[in-house]
């Protein structure tokens, strides 16, 4: 995967070209105007969305679709809040019915406190969704074994966590993330736990194909400005990764030549 991208740096999930390697969530903003402005500022063309009941008692309630047009942005419906396979399948089948979305983000949580993914349910559900024709991006633990199993089941992208959802703690297991990147033939996208722009750069420098950010932008004091910071952080990290960093030395190596020194 890496060799291909050095020639022409195109980001594809399944067969779909995604222009920005920064994917953003649409939750936790103060209002929908702020959501729309932050997304625009981030430069992202793919956004995650949740599926919830229509509020029938408030006919005038503003809709996400009116602020973030599904014609301009690739909607990636998620299963946030699902704790089992049955609920996740129901949610994504309904999401597909809204407007034909086949590319979806599967996330099945196993524990309310850590929101850690339940990999047994996740593996089971991925299999069903792939069979039903969904292109599944899967939120998962940073365990290389599970990541490999997901790929073998036909996942379109592997989305390991950096740290628990909404924690903002940054990448905690660079080694595991690196192993997952090296072994995967499908894109690896860091999902959850990124706290600030430099975390995204680190993820991209490790060789991730993309990052998915929500809380770190939405909960910043100035979300629209932070969205822009992430845009550049991801571009920067990607270019840095493609450039190939210098080797590390344990001692100093002078930058200026020794020849011609005034003695």
């Amino acid at each position: 995967m890496v060799e291909d991208k050095l020639r022409k740096d195109i980001f594809k999930i399944d067969k779909k070209i995604i222009k920005s390697r920064l994917i953003v969530g649409t939750g936790k903003y103060k209002n929908l105007t702020e959501t729309a402005l932050a997304i625009k500022s981030s430069g992202a063309d793919m956004v995650t969305v949740a599926v919830r009941r229509v509020n029938i008692s408030d006919k005038k309630k503003p809709l996400l679709m009116d602020y973030v047009s599904p014609k301009k942005f690739i909607y990636l419906p998620n299963t946030a809040g699902c704790f089992n396979s049955k609920d996740a399948l129901r949610t994504l089948r309904l999401a597909r019915e809204i407007g034909g979305w086949e590319m979806v983000k599967l996330e099945i949580l196993g524990d309310k406190k850590t929101l850690y993914p339940d990999m047994i349910e996740t593996l089971k559900t991925t299999k069903v969704l792939v069979k039903e024709g969904f292109k599944v991006l899967v939120y998962c633990t940073d365990d290389p074994l599970h990541a490999k199993k997901l790929e073998d089941l036909g996942a379109s992208a592997i989305m390991p966590l950096a740290a628990p959802i909404g924690s903002g703690l940054g990448i905690h297991n660079k080694l595991n993330i690196s192993i997952i990147i090296k072994q995967s033939k499908v894109p690896v996208i860091i999902d959850a736990g990124i706290g600030t722009a430099s975390d995204a750069t680190i993820a991209m420098e490790l060789g991730c194909d993309g990052v998915l950010i929500n809380s770190a932008i939405a909960l910043a004091k100035k979300p629209i400005l932070m969205a822009e910071a992430f845009k550049y952080a991801v571009i920067s990290g990607r270019k840095s990764f493609l450039s190939g960093r210098m080797r590390k030395n344990y001692f100093a190596e002078a930058t200026s030549p020794k020849r011609g020194l005034i003695s």
Binding site: G25, V49, A50, V51, R52, R53, I56, L64, N78
Partner: protein
């Protein structure tokens, strides 16, 4: 009249009321929602021809902000 349940709330509707009529009543655009009728997804092209019956249970969902 028929007693139905929409998104967990009990509602009374007229006889012969279709799913399409229901969307009109709540000013909901069919392109922005998906509907489950008694636990099964109802395809959009069936909204006009599907009449609601007493004790029907409807779940109507849309996209909202999420991560």
């Amino acid at each position: 009249m028929a007693k139905i349940q929409i998104n967990g709330r009990k509602k009374l509707i007229k006889q012969n009321f279709s799913v399409f009529d229901l969307l009109k009543k709540y000013k909901i655009n069919r392109t922005k929602v998906a509907i489950e009728l008694n636990g099964k997804i109802l395809p959009k092209n069936k909204y006009n021809v599907t009449k609601l019956k007493d004790q029907d249970i409807i779940e109507m969902v849309q996209f909202i902000g999420g991560g």
